[in-house]
Amino acid sequence: MTGTGIGAPVRRKEDQRFITGKGRYTDDLTRPGQAHAYFVRSPHAHAEIVKIDKAAAEAMPGVLAVLTGDDLAADNIGGLICGWMIHSKDGTPMKAGAHPALAQGKVRYVGDHVAVVVAETLAQARDAAEAVEVDYKLLPAIAETAKARSSKVVVHDVAPDNTVYEWHLGDKDATEAAFKKAKHVTSLDITNNRLIPNPIETRAAIGEYDMGTDTYTLYTTSQNPHVARLVLSAFIGIAPENKLRVIAPDVGGGFGSKIFIYAEETVCVWASKKVGRPVRWNSDRTEAFLSDAHGRDHVTRAQLALDDSGKILGLRVHTIANLGAYLSTFSSSVPTYLYAPLLSGQYDIPAIYAEVDGVYTNTAPVDAYRGAGRPEATFVVERLVEVAARELGMDPAKFRKKNYIKRFPHQTPVIMNYDVGDYGASLEKALEMADYKGFNKRKRESAKKGKLRGIGFSSYIEACGIAPSQAVGSLGAGVGLWESAEVRVNPTGSVEVLTGSHSHGQGHETTFAQLVCERLGVDINQVNIVHGDTDKVQFGMGTYGSRSGAVGMSAITRAIDKVIEKGKKVAAYAMEASEKDIEFADGKFSVAGTDKSMAFGEIALQAYIAHKFSGQDLEPGLKEGAFYDPTNFTFPAGMHICEVEIDPDTGVTTIERFTAVDDFGVVINPMIVEGQVHGGIAQGVGQALLENAVYDESGQLVTASYMDYAMPRADDLPSFDVGMTVTPCPSNPLGIKGCGEAGAIAAPPAVINAITNAVGHEDVPMPATPRAVWHAIHKAKAPMAAE
């Protein structure tokens, strides 16, 4: 390890510009002649559009255009797509209702896009939007997940019972057999609350059409600009790929919500040609609440079969997943292939059977949000095992240990093949750090103050580094999930790395540069990371699912290897030696067995001046690219322990201690990794205690602002104790597993397990707000009265 190489806690290079306010976000960009878009959105959850009268709006000052779904149709602009085909149990394909970028005939959720006004100023656009007269015929709405399938309301005609798919995974017969021979069955009904992602930077887009070259440019808040270009070209049909450039400049957080291709960016690009001016849109916070893709929203019945020694025999899960009013870009995969394959958790479970019904409702689309499917799976598994241990009178840590997978590789009954791990090591370390032994003493001290104290565990596992293209292709994905990289060495030896990953808070400009330092021995200030522009980076699959380290950096590693190989050839000519005698280490090419050596930068110069070799023997230049397709998922895992104190008078839960021990494989920058863990836990605690997206029966979003949607704040959180264990990932060249989602995945069950431990029964909903906990405590005190 050099001072800035792999494993060094290098300060983030990008923070210079972020902390000094010099970041360049989409909203900071000003395009010459730009006009402003404002969307007319549906105030109703479900209605037919009888008529749209644009005349008054069009006559307003500054208005350049008022466009509706009819205009989209007239221009043959296709609808938004869902890129992952899921088949139902009976083999039928999922029922995807049309998803036009501006409503055609019907609106299906509050915030649905009805029309757009483009005007000289934002205020004019907004004024005119208020003057667009939409004649709605109101329809009854369905918002509630559990009732969607039996509702008389039909969201999409293609799915008369509001069912997108009835999917399943696992071996039903084997699981039934396991339950038959079970000595004990633990059952739980679980609601995984709906969340609104809330990145600090709201979504934004600028579409720009260049008449001279007949090309479009889209500046957008995207986690994956190439995928955006692909979808806008191949499916929505705005322009061919070579005529569309997508730039995602600095992006202020995404958490999944900026993976998707949304209506607004589609409309901005399309409208820019129609009005002949750049068209910009910036979401306000209310629009973000209403129209960013939401996360989670599952209703689940889960059961665990056990023998009398506490060994798990089988797991049975039935989940209803709310997908909202339309299928967002990757929504169909989240409650299916990103969920059920993780239901084995860290445990050796011989038989698993999961059924998932995806449903339409009159609510905003639901798609991947930090963790995507894996938090839902972890919540089911970790609540179940905790409750099972309690029911059997076993210590929950011992119960877990007994059931852990101990030999690797391990094939689970639900697709995944875990390559490596040491779950016992994380558990032991976490128990030690959390002073589990001292818990009872602390509980007694709390009791003396009239407080309840509880402890909860979460042995989470996730599948990251998504994903082997062939595998996901066989499961219905519309794309491959490899990553690309290009390493360009300049004549003076400085290095530019072009990557298909996209950084929106993860610190790639630092960690990726650390890899280059480590491998090529160049100074970290000589390395630039280039991303987020389809004209610079040829192609890439973007950043989500903790894939940038395991997949993105593996691609960079491959390209670096090629650079070194080429460098050796150049060095052989430059030092008049045989290529097989050239060695590369510590930034120097040397001739084995001699004291001859040349620095990396000198060889770069030799490669470009090309004086020492002929063009017949070797191409000049030093630039190499690579595509890396992983051979397996990676499996970060660990143990999080939460300890809470509850004030029974008010129901307020205080997190007294939070211990996280994670196995992320090889760590590139421990400081950045720790930051990712902190942020993840904060979001996980947010889900467990505070955050809840609530629709009322008519489909109005009750929590459409921070007055009612509770985000976690610093004083809701303790100082975290973070530790690590390391089993390097065998399937990628760096041994990386990924760390971006762990906290959000692990924390919710740890918190709820701690609260239910303190309260003394399992009937505590998530989020465990003071009100919910207070009622739960009262229920515990008067169990008869509550029945």
Binding site: R126, N692, V702, D708, R771
Partner: protein, 267 residues
């Protein structure tokens, strides 16, 4: 936000004249309530009369047996005032519990009281201390000032200039914060001044701030938390929303009242 005229008068008389001339004009103090509603187009005044330059409305002083606070005193001014800390520490504490630092440095006592948000903190202090709201026209006792949610006795164009708080022997505020907005889900201000015992409740009641008579009677016998043991107001008059149902709110009022009395009596 729609276009509006902006005025920044230099004394109360000018401000009153501008308001009289302009029927749709609105006073802007800290702007922390008014500006968000204008941005959301829920309010569209034709003119704003900014009281920011009226230094006469900013002072905090002890006058006889009262603390008199200028309407333009910010929450932070009140929270950090030596005069308030000495005379009515519970009031300083209340100001410190409002919003976040940005809100406390902009929001004013006058704006908060004029707005009478049913979850705001100051109305509890005004009612709980028996304050007098002083305007450019008259003096209004707190009991008559707060006339229901977002409703006050203020007439069109009437300007709050000061609020006078009688100094109690004992007083304190206990607030249970809404987990999202951090306004009061249940806030209780208690005070004792001779035989005048007050328990004022904000955030909980479905008709805004109110005095909880039953608790006042119990405390009149003995001003101690124990006097309120097991007591809470009837759930019937309480608000229900996603954060708290009426039963829970009523319970919280009891808990906060006991905590406020404990704080006031140093227990």
């Amino acid at each position: 936000m729609h276009a509006f005229e902006y005025h920044r008068p230099s004394n109360v008389r000018q401000a009153a004249a501008l308001l009289q001339k302009n029927e749709d004009a609105k006073i802007v103090a800290g702007g922390h309530t008014l500006l968000p509603t204008m941005k959301q187009r829920l309010a569209a005044p034709s003119a704003l009369v900014d009281l920011g330059a009226l230094s006469e409305l900013r002072g905090i002083e002890k006058k006889g047996r009262a603390v008199v606070i200028g309407a333009m005193a910010t929450h932070s001014d009140v929270a950090t005032s030596d005069v308030v800390a000495e005379a009515i520490p519970g009031l300083a504490k209340l100001a410190e519990l409002i919003g976040d630092p940005a809100v406390r440095h902009r929001g004013t006592i006058g704006g908060s009281i004029a707005n009478n948000d049913p979850a705001a903190d100051y109305p509890a202090a005004c009612l709980g201390l028996g304050a007098t709201i002083i305007t450019n026209k008259r003096k209004i006792p707190a009991e008559e000032f707060f006339t229901g949610m977002f409703d006050t006795a203020l007439e069109e164009g009437e300007i709050i200039t000061k609020v006078s708080f009688p100094i109690p022997a004992k007083a304190a505020y206990a607030k249970f914060r809404n987990p999202a907005s951090r306004y009061a889900l249940a806030g209780v201000f208690v005070s004792k001044r001779g035989s005048d015992i007050r328990v004022a409740v904000t955030g909980a009641g479905s008709d805004g701030v109110f005095r909880w008579g039953e608790a006042e009677e119990a405390l009149a016998k003995r001003f101690a938390p124990k006097s309120l043991d097991g007591m809470s107001p009837p759930a019937k008059g309480m608000n229900t929303d996603i954060h708290a149902d009426a039963e829970y709110r009523a319970h919280l009022v009891g808990v906060m009242a006991r905590r406020a009395v404990a704080a006031a009596t140093g227990r």
